[in-house]
Symmetry: C2
Subunit: 206 residues, 2 copies
């Protein structure tokens, strides 16, 4: 029997740098599989199907919703976004760890469907720092910045639904922590008890 | 408010090398405090009071048992051995991590009194390897070896009472895993939720 892989769900408020953290993590832990989202929005310049997103027609997406083929999905304005379940479950069953980088609402849906996942909440070092990062993007109006900041503040309350929190002060340090979490999860007795007992008992009976 | 330290309880069957693992861990993680056991047995050559053990008179030890001053204790033949509670609790309250290297029966007693502890079970890489290690000591009769080996086998069942298991194949690797567990425990939301929420909310209300 192959030992199942872990589902790592990394999320947090916008502006905490979870994207960068995930990218660095994947560079170091090359065996982790990244789950690619599906969407019905048009590909932007340079985006490739199956790499950035699985680009689906709206009717296909809706049929897949009905057939329960998403671990989570959401409609944002007129477009759907979601996480196809099959890829994630297949990889886990093969013994591979899978990474989902996802917003908080999505993570909560995944938690309902797959509570065994490891839910990791990325936090900014401080709210001031978060504000600086949001402003620093330089792409948004003052009003949009305030709105984004306000919702980040609300979103921090959802940390209580997660298993672990990681403060993203230094990306390197944050990645180190996530790697430690993976290592620790693999040492949990509760997830491995049958394997441990059989390993030592079988050996003896031979 | 100071964040409490962790109580790390490391145990496992004899011959798994938990002593070596603990020694190496303490060399690297210099901030971890080692709990020193108390005993009523005579000091052996070179053993120092307060370093190897706290050497106590029998009547003192028994009075301390009555007063609930031990996290765990046992009588082995005519001598008592135990873990003084005060030192451990004081250090934890100060924010320090404390290490207890202890046998399985002792660990189970500690778990009753301090369930928040991190209970780590050291396993041999295999039962064959364990036998080799027990034989390798070269100090025991065939009968004693068989007895020790048999009880090690029974003891492995207790792994289910622990939070984590660590296979001691390479000491360096085992230490790495324990360090990862400590890091992971410090990222657990459940142990830090008030701190996280207040950190971000207070900052905002200022």
């Amino acid at each position: 029997m192959i030992k199942e892989g872990l589902l790592l769900v990394i999320s947090g408020p916008s502006g905490t740098g979870k994207g960068t953290v995930c990218k660095e993590l994947l560079k170091i832990e090359k065996d982790i599989k990244l789950s690619i989202s599906a969407t019905t929005r048009e590909p932007r310049n340079g985006e490739r199907n199956g790499v950035n997103y699985h680009f689906l027609e709206k009717d296909v997406f809706e049929r897949q919703i009905e057939q329960g083929e998403f671990l989570e999905y959401a409609k944002v304005y007129d477009n759907y976004y979601g996480t196809p379940k099959k890829y994630v479950i297949d990889e886990i069953k093969e013994g591979n760890n899978v990474l989902l980088e996802i917003d908080i609402q999505g993570a909560l849906q995944v938690k309902e469907k797959y509570p065994k996942g490891i839910f990791i909440f990325i936090l900014p070092p401080s709210m001031n720092e978060l504000k600086k990062r949001i402003v620093g993007r330089g792409t948004e109006s003052e009003e949009a910045i305030q709105k984004r900041f306000g919702s980040a503040l609300d979103e921090i309350n959802y940390v209580k639904e997660y298993d672990y929190f990681v403060i993203n002060d230094e990306v390197k340090e944050a990645v180190k922590k996530i790697r430690a979490l993976i290592r620790a999860e693999n040492c949990k007795v509760s997830e491995n008890i049958e394997e441990i007992i059989s390993k030592f008992k079988e050996e003896i009976s031979c």
